[in-house]
């Protein structure tokens, strides 16, 4: 996604502008129409210029929420999410949001105010070493100490955030730089001698990968979020169809391949489907695309895909052979490489392989007790999926709610599932939904959340009301921090240590904050409540009182191979 940089923008040669004006002008030049942020002392000059700037501005209730909103906006639209906050506490409150974006490779530009240059290092009021604190959770950061470098620093931030393996970039801007006048900036040329992106993909490596595919009897495509950030879903579909290869996706990869297609093996890993995990363990060729062999995917690394030759297509060379030895690495842009690869592959019938997979699919479908009289969380998600035609944008909290959303909503398109995969940030769902709705005003955006995930950032419901963003929240309310409780049940002898908290009446909280609220206790009321929620013009929270001690199955216990799944017998007994 190369950013357009107008060369005519070396204007300002004769015009004198303040740093704050330069920031606003550079944001507009970079195509920013929407941004998120929270005012404060050392960003007053910037906010003064934002007062009448042609940029839609969303103020969250807390900077962490704002950062997740920028993240949700970026994931839903593919654009760079922009957040601006003040120094010290404002900047510190971004850390969780930046780390979330860093782990999931989401392009964000964060601008933070900083105390006056001459005060830096003196423990001034609201001073924090922002670049020091955020260095491990950003792709790049820097502090601007000369107003002449300001425009270039911001342009570089957008370039770095949105190219290669995307990620968050932070620029720290002392308040005196915002008020300093500048008539001659550093020019539009980026100065990044150490920033190189390998886009192309080595032709010989691509040919070896194609040859491996053509020779394979039991191939599997294992795709991650990289396919979505590379906008390569179409190329993935073409390759999978042309060569006839089953596709399994990571949590972040869901949506990159249409789950209604026969080749879809759905999600793999710790709470993946049995058929995906079995297929990976039996395949003779694993083609990883934009995925990073995360421990939640591989289980015990030593026994992961033991019979497979591994092809790894990734834009980040450091991802290759980090966790698993790769036989055929192809470094570059997934869209380009998948396109090239498709040219060289041939259709393979692979009848035995597909019939083996069909057998697993038949024997081990996902499921739950459909005859239960209480509301099963999976049932809620299935209903949401049905009533939205599988077309909604779904955000999630973290834990059981997230896994069930991944298992029971059927995704068709990229950027439909927005979830904190790598960092696993509870409280992500609501602000991410707000950001997604800002970016996709016409879409139905639903946060499938857990009660305690929702508790963490529910203050942002007021933000949704304030900006008239009709997001929906489905709380799968079991009173517990469900996934931790599940582990306590399975591995700590049901000693539910500190995982229960008394919740408020969410429907009333929602109403008090200006949103609509619905509480559902009876299974029979679920479809009606969802209909009402979808028809609601206001933000709407539905509090589903679900089965208290439902578990997510199947489950690969920590340290086991991914074919060693618990809960298959339970699923079978309920089928």
């Amino acid at each position: 996604m190369p950013k357009k940089r107008s060369s005519a923008k070396s204007a300002g040669k004769s015009i004198t502008k303040t740093g704050a004006q330069i920031i606003v002008d550079t944001l507009i030049e970079q195509g920013v129409e929407t941004m998120f942020g929270y005012p404060g002392g050392v960003v007053l000059p910037l906010f003064d210029k934002l007062y009448d700037a042609p940029i839609r501005f969303i103020v969250p209730r807390h900077e962490q929420g704002g950062c997740h909103m920028a993240d949700g906006f970026a994931r839903a639209t593919g654009k760079v999410g922009v957040i601006v906050v003040t120094s010290g506490p404002g900047a510190c409150n971004l850390v969780t949001g930046l780390a979330t974006a860093m782990m999931d490779s989401v392009p964000i530009v964060a601008l933070t105010g900083q105390v006056r240059t001459e005060l830096i290092g003196n423990d001034a009021f609201q001073e924090a070493d922002t670049t020091g604190i955020t260095r491990p959770v950003t792709k790049y950061n820097s502090i601007v100490k000369d107003v002449k470098e300001l425009a270039r620093a911001i342009r570089e931030a957008f370039h770095i955030a949105s190219t290669g393996r995307p990620g968050p970039v932070l620029i720290d801007i002392p308040v005196d730089i915002q008020v300093a006048k500048c008539s001659d900036d550093d020019g539009t040329e980026l100065k990044l001698p150490g920033y190189k992106i390998m886009r192309g993909g080595h032709a010989r490596q691509i040919s070896s990968a194609a040859a491996a595919i053509n020779a394979s009897e039991r191939p599997v495509l294992y795709v991650g979020g990289g396919v979505i950030s590379a906008n390569a879903s179409e190329e993935l579909r073409a390759l999978a169809e042309k060569a006839h290869i089953p596709v399994t996706m990571t949590l972040l990869g869901l949506g990159s391949y249409d789950q209604s297609k026969a080749e879809s093996l759905d999600m793999l890993g710790m709470h993946g489907t049995a058929y995906a995990n079995y297929a990976v363990q039996e395949c003779d060729l694993l083609i990883a695309v934009g995925a990073r062999f995360d421990d939640r995917v591989t289980g015990k690394v030593k026994t992961f895909a033991p019979h497979a030759k591994i092809v790894h297509i990734d834009i980040d060379p450091a991802s290759i052979s980090k966790n698993v030895h790769v036989d055929i690495p192809v470094v570059g842009d997934a869209k380009h490489i998948l396109g090239e690869l498709a040219k060289e592959v041939e259709y393979g019938e692979r009848k035995a392989w597909f019939s083996r997979i069909a057998g697993w699919k038949k024997k081990h479908p996902l499921g739950y007790d459909r005859n239960s009289s209480v509301i099963k969380p999976q049932y809620v998600i299935e209903q949401v999926c049905e009533q939205t035609g599988g077309e909604a944008i779904i955000t999630t909290g973290v834990g059981q709610n997230q896994m069930w959303a991944a298992q029971f909503y059927r995704f068709h398109r990229a950027r439909q599932l927005i979830s904190s995969g790598g960092l696993g940030t509870m409280g992500y769902g609501l602000p991410a939904a707000i950001g997604a709705q800002v970016g996709r005003p016409d879409a139905t955006v639903i946060d499938i959340d857990g009660d305690h995930s929702f508790n963490m950032t529910l203050t942002e419901l007021r933000t949704a009301v304030e900006y008239e963003l009709p997001i929906k929240v489905c709380i799968l309310n079991n009173g517990y921090m469900g996934m931790v409780r599940q582990w306590q049940e399975l591995f700590y002898n049901k000693r539910y240590s500190k995982t229960y908290l008394a919740n408020p009446e969410y429907a009333e909280v929602a109403e008090a904050l200006g949103a609509a609220g619905i509480m559902v206790e009876k299974k029979a009321d679920v479809p009606k409540a969802i209909r009402k929620m979808l028809a609601e013009k206001k933000p709407c929270v539905v509090d589903f009182r679900v089965e208290r001690e439902e578990n997510v199955w199947p489950m690969v216990p920590a340290g086991a191979s991914i074919s060693e799944m618990d809960g298959l017998d339970i699923l079978e007994s309920m089928a």
């Binding site: 260095r135 770095i160 060379p317 450091a318």
Partner: protein
């Protein structure tokens, strides 16, 4: 095994912290890390000695290269290099031991840079093994303190060794 990694980096504030932070965050062990200016004022060179198997060092190299202000990374393993350490060492040297200490210093091509009633301070440079050897030889006399730069290195251009 030990690898000498040379990284050309932008001469900007925060780069050293970024590199050091990456090593700590990813649990890579640094034996030594030296930063100095180069012929180009915009660039510094970091010479990092890392201990680890090939896979670990490969990751170190890639993770270093990934840091935006890091311009170029080379692993010198398997190629002829000139690697040097510089040390200042202060040794107990009472009058009666002094002649043998001086002769030891000469053998190692060291240089006496400070001298008092009871000590000598020596400047000595060379490959790490030579420095370690000198330290061992000095131990019986009593070492007061040691300051070392850590290794800097450059690959050999010619096939001829000057050593």
């Amino acid at each position: 095994m030990k690898h000498i990694i040379s990284a050309l980096v932008e001469n900007k504030p925060g780069v050293l912290a970024h590199v050091a932070g990456m090593f700590a965050a990813r649990a890579f062990n640094i034996d030594s890390l030296v930063v100095g200016r180069t012929e180009d004022p915009a660039l510094s060179r970091m010479t990092i000695v890392v201990v680890g198997d090939d896979r670990v060092v490969e990751q170190v190299r890639k993770q270093l290269a990934k840091i935006v202000p890091v311009v170029k990374v080379q692993d010198f393993v398997g190629q002829p290099v000139v690697a040097r350490d510089l040390m200042l060492i202060s040794i107990s040297a009472p009058a009666e031991k002094r002649p043998e200490i001086i002769s030891l210093i000469e053998t190692f091509k060291g240089k006496v840079v400070d001298i008092g009633q009871k000590f000598v301070m020596v400047e000595i440079s060379g490959p790490e093994a030579k420095i370690e050897g000198f330290i061992e030889m000095c131990r019986p006399y009593g070492i007061k303190s040691v300051a070392r730069t850590g290794t800097i290195a450059m690959p050999r251009q010619s096939k001829v060794s000057g050593e």
